[in-house]
């Protein structure tokens, strides 16, 4: 029995050691890459891109479901970004509020005869509208089908060779498009998709779809999520992009080559984790055809998104994410350890499976193992404290390292709230991580419970 116990401890130790070692390496790689990128971007480079005469058109595709409060400001803000050619394609996903009426009134929309460019699955389109004035806007009015469905519709009506997928309530910085398009200009032959860094809009002052002042959130749950987003976008995505193992381009901001998206079949309308699903499918599609390609991350390109401010919405969001992860990994399990899929099949997908999907279960097993050790007298209180401290420090060191080595969106101006973020990073392991772990575990234990998108509740209404 004791032998079995020690074997279990050894397996768990290897599991967590790999996690800690890889996390440390990722922080160092992300820090070096951020430093190198910061030093590569010359002051005049962005100005050059912003006035390039042959810059490719970017079609910003926005799914809108009951977004009457924010959609007009979002569109105006997108159309005035510092990039020479922007087209906005809004897919009104069967909104039950006045989204379409507001758009019609504000932009003077008229029926258009624009035809779809390809065939992607989506609900029937009721009508396509364009403004009378020369404004680069297309509104696709369609039956309700969900986010993926609406994005498919928007992509088929987009004109640009590059499509940017994002949500109607998100805000991007003025230079985001110029920064995000750089990999496509630098390597137009291979680059097929790039993601940007998502920052939290909860702590920012946004007026008419524009960021006026950036800052860390004041509420406790968003503050924890800010730390989580920093680790994900400032460390994990940059590191995985560096070794060509980027398994997900966030649906919050993804700049994609339209022809590749359409050829890969677009978004899966039945998928809950549609962005993860599409990214893996693009990997599979291009590797199956031996096409050289790049999917990367642009750390300096910033997009601001709202995150849940209460535990009810957070619960719903995390259930959806975890179910999506499960669904996509089950669907793409054929990529596991297949040489054809290279680092995606040998590292990215197994990592997602072991350290994201199964992590809650393994943490529970580890906790039970420690309790059992205490009960049978193998683990004393001193050893318990030591294990607890090492476990805590192993997550805090890379998180603080991430703060230190990478640029944190919105955190630089507000010293006190930055201190709050540091404290949140140091205390996240004691409560927040367990909370999200419980949500994820529940998703696995009660898989049949329905998951829904729901609305993101705003504590502060948008300033008009």
């Amino acid at each position: 029995m004791t032998e079995l116990y020690y074997t279990l401890v050894a397996i768990l130790a290897v599991y967590f050691f790999i996690y800690v070692a890889v996390t440390f390496v990722m922080v160092i790689v992300a820090g070096l890459v951020t430093r190198r990128r910061r030093h590569e971007l010359l002051p005049s480079t962005l100005r050059e891109i912003m006035r390039a005469e042959l810059a490719p058109t970017i079609s910003v595709c926005i799914p809108a479901y009951n977004e009457a409060a924010v959609v007009v400001d979002s569109i105006r803000s997108l159309l005035s970004l510092d990039y020479p050619r922007v087209e906005v394609v809004v897919a009104n996903d069967g909104s039950t509020d006045t989204t379409l009426d507001v758009l019609r009134t504000e932009f003077g929309l008229e029926p258009s005869n624009r035809s779809p460019l390809g065939e992607l699955p989506h609900q029937p389109v009721r009508g396509v509208y364009e403004p009378r004035a020369p404004i680069s806007l297309v509104v696709v009015d369609k039956d309700n089908g969900g986010r993926a469905d609406a994005l498919n519709a928007a992509i088929t009506y987009a004109n640009g060779p590059l499509v940017l997928v994002m949500d109607a309530d998100e805000v991007v910085s003025n230079d985001t498009l110029a920064l995000a398009v750089r990999p496509f200009l630098a390597d137009p032959f291979r680059t097929v998709a790039v993601g940007a860094t998502l920052g939290l809009a909860n702590g920012c002052r946004i007026v008419r779809g524009r960021i006026i002042e950036t800052g860390r959130p004041r509420q406790i749950l968003p503050l924890f999520q800010a730390v989580e987003y920093d680790r994900s976008f400032r460390v994990a995505r940059i590191a995985s992009s560096t070794v060509h193992a980027m398994a997900i381009v966030s649906g919050g901001f993804g700049l994609l080559r339209r022809d590749v998206v359409i050829e890969a079949g677009g978004y899966d309308v039945d998928s809950i984790g549609e962005d993860f699903d599409l990214t893996l499918r693009m990997h599979r599609f291009l590797r199956d055809r031996d096409v050289p390609y790049r999917i990367g991350q642009v750390p300096d390109a910033l997009c601001w998104t709202l995150v849940p401010e209460n535990s009810r919405v957070l619960h719903r969001q995390r259930r959806r994410w975890h179910r999506g992860l499960w669904q996509v990994l089950s669907k793409e399990r054929g990529m596991l350890f297949r040489p054809r899929y290279g680092i995606i099949g040998f590292a990215a997908v197994p990592w997602a499976f072991l350290y994201e999907l199964l992590n809650p279960v393994i943490v529970v097993v580890a906790t039970l193992t420690i309790i059992l050790g205490i009960v049978v007298g193998i683990i004393g209180w001193q050893l318990l404290l030591l294990i607890a401290f090492i476990a805590w420090a192993c997550t805090v060191v890379p998180t603080l390292g991430a703060f230190l080595m990478t640029d944190s969106p919105g955190g630089t101006k507000t010293g006190w709230r930055n201190l709050g973020a540091v404290l949140a990073a140091m205390s996240a392991e004691m409560g927040y991580q367990w909370l999200t772990m419980a949500y994820r575990l529940e998703t696995m234990l009660v898989p049949r419970r329905r998951v829904a998108w729901g609305d993101m509740e705003r504590s502060v209404p948008p300033e008009l």
Binding site: R38, L42, P43, S44, F184, L185, R258, L404, T412
Partner: protein, 279 residues
């Protein structure tokens, strides 16, 4: 395990101290220094408008502040106002400072920025330093120097500039593109040579697009090659380049795209719009 715990505790402490230091640095940069820069911008703008002078700044911080202020003003000025600002940059010793950074700094980023700033300032005093920068060990510095010389219109090192563009464009694509655009206007023959016999596909492509942007018909064969690409990103840029070149060949190639039912619908739509403008 105890040793591991001590090491981790030490690391956390060190990181916290570093975070506090960084916060203070950012506070200075975005707070007090920005106020000084704003004041310097006002002083420079007044001097440009009133044809006045600015006292050469004393001390490292003040020189840095003036440099940042001038570099914020340059992109928004044109014509004689810009020339006056260039004269002010020379008389205050700013150009000399930036040249010294380009020549002496051991940090590649500082040299890259210096080359970029000299390109922006466009002072003839910087030409020898920029020419020397073509031999820098860092490829981005070399391309930035090519751009600086091209913007200055100094083509004495043209051969070496083309070599740099051919070899290093991939490392600094936006800078190379801008340098080639300047060369397409100042020395189109040399760019045609690069476009036809360059060793890098990327540099050849950029050269062709730069020539097309200024309406040079010699870019057409390369641009037509790009138009045939299935990659819609390349073919879409090619349609725009063809539109810039114009002429009978452009009309014929755009009509061909329009008639080809196998091509991407948006590309054909773009070709139709381009055709209207070319005709």
């Amino acid at each position: 395990m105890t040793l591991a715990a001590i090491i981790l505790a030490g690391l956390i402490l060190a990181e916290l101290v570093a975070l506090v230091c960084r916060r203070n640095w950012v506070h200075w940069k975005l707070g007090r220094r920005q106020t000084l820069v704003d004041d310097a911008i006002s002083a420079l703008a007044d001097a440009v408008v009133a044809h006045g002078d600015v006292e050469p700044p004393q001390g490292r911080v003040n020189r840095r502040v003036l440099r940042l202020a001038a570099l914020e003003l340059f992109p928004v000025l044109a014509g004689s106002s810009r020339e006056r600002l260039t004269r002010l940059a020379e008389s205050t010793g700013l150009v000399h400072d930036v040249i010294r950074t380009l020549q002496r700094s051991p940090r590649a980023y500082a040299r890259r920025t210096a080359a970029d700033e000299l390109a922006e300032i466009r002072s003839a005093e910087a030409a020898p330093a920029l020419a020397a920068g073509l031999e820098d060990v860092d490829p981005v510095v070399r391309v930035a120097c090519v751009r600086g010389l091209a913007w200055l219109g100094d083509l004495t090192e043209l051969r070496r500039m083309l070599q740099v563009l051919d070899g290093d464009s991939l490392r600094a694509p936006s800078e190379a593109e801008s340098a080639m655009l300047a060369l397409a206007r100042a020395a189109p023959e040399s760019l045609v040579e690069l476009e036809q016999s360059g060793s890098s596909r990327f540099a050849r492509r950029l050269a062709a697009l730069a020539l097309a942007t200024v309406g040079d018909k010699r870019a057409m064969p390369s641009v037509l090659g790009e138009l045939a690409e299935e990659n819609v990103l390349l073919s879409s840029v090619a349609v725009r380049a063809i539109e810039r070149v114009g002429g009978e060949d452009a009309v014929a190639s755009l009509e061909h795209v329009l008639a080809d039912g196998s091509r991407d619908v948006s590309l054909r739509r773009q070709a139709a719009r381009a055709l209207e403008r070319v005709r």
